[in-house]
Symmetry: D2
């Protein structure tokens, strides 16, 4: 990076999510520019690169990451491709923003942890963007301040209008509930120790094949109990809600708000239809903070440890879902490298 | 009334409102029975009387009131007929619940005041039922407790789905806003001293002929400023809302609530469509308290003075509406008979 | 009962709940009077009887029920005393309103079912008052109308400010969650087939000894999944909330509402502190409908079968709580006497 | 501006508002940099300039604007200084973002209008930032789509926790209600034709000297009626709310939302305490769009005509406030240069 010049970012994977990050770095966030993009679909890579001045297109992630114009790497390719891209970035000691999941399973995540530790300093921020949402931040602060007493339960709702046809039952856990795994850990400062998955008779239509919705239960090492309703084809809106039940009170985020109309015998408002409508600001803030830190030579935010922990809980969740049984989470001890285990 | 037997009530006027009171005394409120009904429409009187055991039907109010079975009188006939029915009740010294307006104009209301004073004790409760609504009661208590400081403004909304075809522009003031005249006086413990009526270009359809909606401004002898939106053909629901703006905070009643649904991209609930849906409990409580007091030989609740005051403010309001000018309210001094002027 | 005279009611048990019913029959509901009260504490019986004209006091339920002044029986004594009082009422073929639980266990409840069937017609209404609450009624109608599709899950919250010192862990299930057992059955028209009880580390203070709060899971024969948070010492208010998650939308009742104040940097309102504040209207309506039906010689509302079903689910719940295991509910087939099994 | 380099901005006036814009251009908005700042307080100018790399400090606005590093001008000095700074920018034909008011009175605003027209294209965007707020945007779209019918009334609330000691009664109109003047014009696409100011007895403390709060009434050339509560020392929060009353329904923005806590018998949340908390996103969007347009050589957004119109309405408002009388607004015809008068 030229002294004080903008951070040159390589965006790896320019599907929906990656292309949105390109737009964000180009138009919303100051201090950075998209220097390169890579996508297995070369036409797609070129099409995106053409929207940005001075941006090169690649089909090989490693080639993009090797470009001298590149100072930092944003990985938005499918999960199975993450480990290789992370390795390439680690070789150049570049700061990385890696979309969740860090990797698809705890074993590969562990390899990433070990590689990062060998570099001697944090290089990876994992894309758990809810930590940058104003409401989540307020809820965490409220819990930490302690006025409501110790948190005992979290009731979480995670509803999507619909998901892609290739979505699998396992992805309810690994793609959707993964967000609640991280936010539970972050809100409570506790690790998840066991997972149970309960299921009603599914809804009809696309829900039927997915066994959708489900109720996922977490237990934590701090004794908290968390229930997560995941409903991938709820049909009516994108809704993410958390109610924390504490010893002396409750706190709830994620209720609908905005303009209220009254007409034809009804009052109410519109429900957000997509995650960008609900979390767009959080993504902007996430990337801005990553860019700011990278320009200072640092990486902060959710760590590779957080990515590993979610991979471990996801594995237990998939087993719990398949067997119908309470499944303990198997995890290594938290390395000192990643700081103390409780907030 | 037989010692400890139920209170025999004559209901004068059995249109929509009167028939509803017959149902209420018969089925909801304990300690009273409908002994007689009167209506200029004899068929209607007989039809209603037949629904109640031992109830006589009359076309003449005076005849019903004269019945030895009658211990108390509920007047629900049109306003112009009230004075005569009140006189008949006064002759027998009976307790009266008189639907608003007490009488249609301040002069006749003054005659009622004087007649009641000659009887030496309160005989009339005027049907300002909002004073018996849980939310209004809570708002009044909050203002009186003083935690929010002195009330400076009230913002009131009064919306009907629609009104009858014979409704006139004046009735926006005398029939609808009359409720806010009383509730302003009761919430603040102040008299209204001047009225101004402001008007946008009216809505189309039935609103056009009525110059509907309007914004009615009250000034009070305590220095408060009150604005009332009256919208008689709002089309979407029955909505009565008051926001009190005080020195150190605000208090609002009348927001929509109840079951909230989320479907098809919208969240929200249903709006009450009629006054009984919104104020049914208040009517029940009003009549129950009147019956209880009457059985003890007393009359409490909104007094004939309150009826007179609203008649005086209504007259000023009608002038203000016709002239477009701020119009002072002309009232006599409050007789000591009716207690101190401020709460 | 004298033809068309008021229904003479014997109130059995005049602790908090029974005394409140005496007040309700005496002052709120028309068409009935308290003819007798019975309580093991004779002083308490006499003290309550003295507040009502012509009311006799007894220490023996059977003696009160035998009084010729008595046309109907309201049982509000502790659960273990219900079976004997029901028998006495059955001997005289009187209509009964029996506070929940019908009896404390399924075996005794079964004996009541059989005794009622021998009488050849329904004599018992069980006091599941939520069925008379306006919000619950609206939710049930919404689910039945089908616009939201089939119900898949219910999320229920049941929070008390605090409970009595003698409250036991089992009573969380049998006293508190019993309400959700009935409302689940009634809202969905399904029977509960299994119960699981999950628990976080309890809150401190009085919650600790009770293992409070808990999360109770129901499965139903219609494939629905229900979670109930019971929090007996939440400290901040009485809160009962249900969110139904259906195929095409959700419906939620029990959010806080009422007057909203804005002061000192906060907006919001007060939370109900007790069940009478929240369900007082439902109790009034319950007793009014029972009195109206009894005067017609009928008994409607929640039946002895509903009481038995809740006793059976409660037993499974207590086992589930003690063992930590999913526990199937054991129930007899629904007798034809009690009508079809689904709404 | 170097081809494709960042836009060099001169920020004129670096008090609270100007310093916040410096921070925004430097850290939040991409594509621009602060090249120069000017402030009559040279120390302040230098202190701010030192926080930004390569930023020069001036005491003379004209000197800053003349710098060859400067491509665009953001004016955040006090209103009386605006005309001179605008002239200097016009001499160099630079795009300007001018904080409201455009100028303090309609005569000077008219001179600005004329000068801009002589340049032959729009050079000025006026800082009415509410037009960039998501809720205002949604309300305007809803009104324009017409589903609710023609707008008849707007009810606006504008409350500040407190204002500076030097704040005057006139500033309630020219500084605070000026926002509602613009948003009324923008939401309705109508010009304001008359102003009336009504006042209760003021609150005590700092409100007393200001005659605070007040109720300001606008009439528009489309027949709408608008009431604005301005309460400069409400004490509890920064609150900006608008309810549009249309022929077939209402739409309301500005209700409090966010995290809801339940504790100690109360439910509710926090109220924003300052305008940046409420409108920070709108400011970001405003500046971003101005920068984007300026880099394309354009100026869009609220125009100098909007600034002039608000100055004209403000003058009428100050007269109405002083005289207590309804005061017509005097304005020139809208020049064709500024496009058609209705949206």
């Amino acid at each position: 990076m030229a002294a004080n010049g903008p951070l040159g970012v390589a965006v790896i994977g320019v599907g929906t999510m990656g292309a949105d990050h390109v737009r964000r770095i180009d138009g919303v966030v100051g201090g950075a520019r998209v220097a390169a993009v890579a996508d297995v679909d070369g036409d797609r890579a070129r099409a995106v690169a053409e929207t940005v001045e001075g941006c090169a297109a690649y089909t090989e992630p490693a080639a993009a990451i090797a470009s001298p114009e590149v100072d930092a790497v944003l990985i938005a390719s499918p999960g199975p491709a993450h480990e290789e891209a992370l390795s390439a970035a680690f070789e150049r000691d570049l700061p990385v923003l890696c979309e969740k999941p860090l990797t698809p399973d705890p074993d590969s995540a562990l390899r990433v942890l070990e590689a990062e530790q060998r570099l001697g300093r944090r290089r990876v921020q994992v894309g758990f963007m809810r930590r940058f949402d104003a409401d989540y931040t307020r809820l965490r602060r409220t819990l930490a301040e302690g006025g409501l007493g110790r948190p005992l339960m979290l009731h979480c709702r995670h509803r999507n209008v619909s998901v892609h046809p290739y979505f699998t039952r396992e992805m309810l856990i690994t793609d959707c509930v993964a967000h609640e795994m991280d936010s539970t850990r972050w809100l409570l400062g506790q690790e998840i120790t066991a997972v149970t998955v309960l299921r009603p008779a599914p809804g009809s239509g696309p829900s039927e094949a997915l066994d959708d919705p489900q109720l996922v239960i977490f237990e934590t090492d701090g004794g908290a109990l968390v229930d997560v309703e995941i409903f991938a084809h709820c049909g009516f809106g994108y809704q993410v809600r958390t109610e924390a039940v504490c010893e002396r009170g409750t706190a709830r985020i994620g209720d609908d708000h905005g303009m209220v109309t009254r007409t034809a015998g009804r009052w109410g408002g519109e429900i957000a239809q997509g995650y960008l409508e609900r979390f767009g600001d959080a993504y902007d803030r996430e990337v801005r903070l990553w860019v700011d830190a990278a320009r200072r030579g640092e990486v902060t935010g959710p760590s590779a440890w957080d990515g590993y922990a979610v991979a471990a809980v996801s594995r237990a969740g998939v087993v719990a879902q398949a067997t119908g049984r309470r499944t303990p989470v198997e995890m290594i001890e938290r390395p000192a490298f990643y700081g103390p285990g409780r907030r």
